[in-house]
């Protein structure tokens, strides 16, 4: 949407601004007009576009997989069932090679993460202007369509996983065992404060790195698509096509990494170390 009136920086910042609905100190509950207003809303605001696309894609995921689950047959599978089974077996293989405890949550959790994150990342491949422009025609000012380029989305998932890490650590080792692990490792009880500091940093680094890795990769990828979109229209495909092809790898890889690290962290939570 690089029209004449827009400067490059305005175009970029427009593309990087979420559609925010929140409690503005002056305007009250309303949609924010620009990043400045959104920032002024503080914590009590919600990114409507992020929620819309992530929930929509999540619903698409469970609709598709539920459809297969309902008609799942142990006989000859159809095309869709075959496709879904391939994904499920891929996830199941990864889970069973990393996670060796009995837990009925980990595998479906991993499947959800893999498919959902993949679908959210895939929104990156939709040409950057299509959806924002379409929504603009409908009177919606901002529309950021890739939920994983919103740090709230990735942090939300990462914190949920962090909660599971703490829950399973306490469940498997007891509260004492969990705190003991934090306090008496790696250097023995005489260096307890140092151990505590090290272990707590290590523990918190798990969700933060999980969230920031996905966010950073997708944000950077999106940024490059936006920058390519600033080029003259006849030159864009020269860069955007190779970058999109490369990005297919990135979005799959990031979804896979998010899933595998979740499994690894939860496996660590189950094990004494």
């Amino acid at each position: 949407m690089a029209s004449g009136e827009l400067t490059s920086s305005a175009y970029i910042s427009h593309h990087l601004t979420n559609l925010t609905f929140g409690n503005h100190p002056v305007n009250g509950w309303s949609f924010a007009h620009g990043g400045q207003e959104a920032a002024e809303m503080g914590f009590w605001a919600i990114h409507v576009d992020t929620m819309l696309w992530s929930v929509g894609l999540g619903l698409f995921f469970i609709w598709l997989f539920r459809k297969v689950a309902v008609t799942a047959t142990s006989g000859v599978p159809g095309n869709l069932q075959n496709f879904v089974e391939t994904i499920i077996e891929f996830v199941d293989d990864n889970v069973s090679s990393i996670f060796h405890h009995k837990n009925s949550l980990i595998a479906p959790l991993s499947l959800t993460i893999f498919v959902w994150v993949f679908l959210m990342n895939t929104m990156d491949l939709v040409p950057v202007d299509w959806l924002p422009y379409a929504f603009q025609q409908m009177g919606v000012e901002y529309m950021k369509v890739v939920p994983t380029t919103d740090i709230n989305a990735t942090l939300g998932m990462a914190f949920a996983i962090f909660g599971l890490i703490v829950y399973y650590s306490i469940k498997m080792k007891g509260l004492g065992g969990f705190l003991g692990e934090l306090a008496f490792q790696p250097l023995g009880k005489w260096l307890l404060p140092f151990n505590l500091f090290l272990e707590i940093v290590g523990l918190l680094a798990k969700p933060v790195s999980l969230a920031l890795r996905l966010f950073g990769n997708m944000y950077a990828g999106e940024m490059i698509f936006i920058l390519i979109a600033l080029l003259p229209f006849w030159a864009q495909w020269l860069l955007s096509v190779p970058w999109a092809i490369f990005h297919i790898l990135v979005i799959t890889l990031q979804a896979f990494i998010f899933m595998v690290l979740t499994i690894v962290y939860l496996a660590m939570a189950h094990e004494e170390h």
Partner: protein, 156 residues
């Protein structure tokens, strides 16, 4: 780049999708996969069993055939033996019959000869008497010479 309520919304959405997936998506599909695995294993088992059955049946057919061949050979041999026995018996019987016939014929011949001799003897006696009458031309006392004629006839 604001941290805001979206994070909570995202956690709720995530939890919902995970729970839904855990309850309604994962179990039926992995169940179908496990069931198919079982079916395939059973199919392979059945194929193995069928192969083994086939081998057994072939073996049994071979041994049955061998046995029946042996039986047939034994029956043929027995039949041959019996046939030659029957032939032998028939020969024996024929020989006996022939002997018997020969004996009977001989006896008859002897009887016949005896009868002829007897008749001849009677005729000789009469001839002798007639001849003597001719020779003597005279009447000879039959009773006086009967003893002599009898003696002569007995010597014949």
């Amino acid at each position: 780049m604001n941290i805001n309520l979206t994070i909570i919304g995202q956690i709720i959405a995530f939890a919902f999708f995970v729970v839904f997936c855990m309850k309604y998506v994962w179990p039926p599909i992995t169940g179908a996969l496990a069931e198919r695995k079982k079916k395939i294993a059973e199919g392979l088992d059945a194929a193995d069993r069928a192969q083994r059955d086939l081998e057994l049946a072939q073996e049994k057919a071979m041994s049955d055939m061998r046995q029946s061949k042996e039986e047939a050979a034994a029956i043929i041999e027995q039949a041959n033996k019996r046939a030659s026995q029957i032939v032998d018996e028939a020969k024996e019987k024929a020989r006996e019959e022939a002997d018997r016939l020969v004996t009977a014929a001989q006896a008859e011949i002897e009887q016949e000869a005896n009868r002829a001799k007897e008749a001849l003897r009677a005729q000789v006696a009469a001839l002798a008497v007639a001849g003597a009458e001719k020779i003597l031309e005279a009447s000879v006392d039959e009773s006086a010479h009967a003893q002599l004629v009898e003696k002569l006839a007995a010597e014949l």
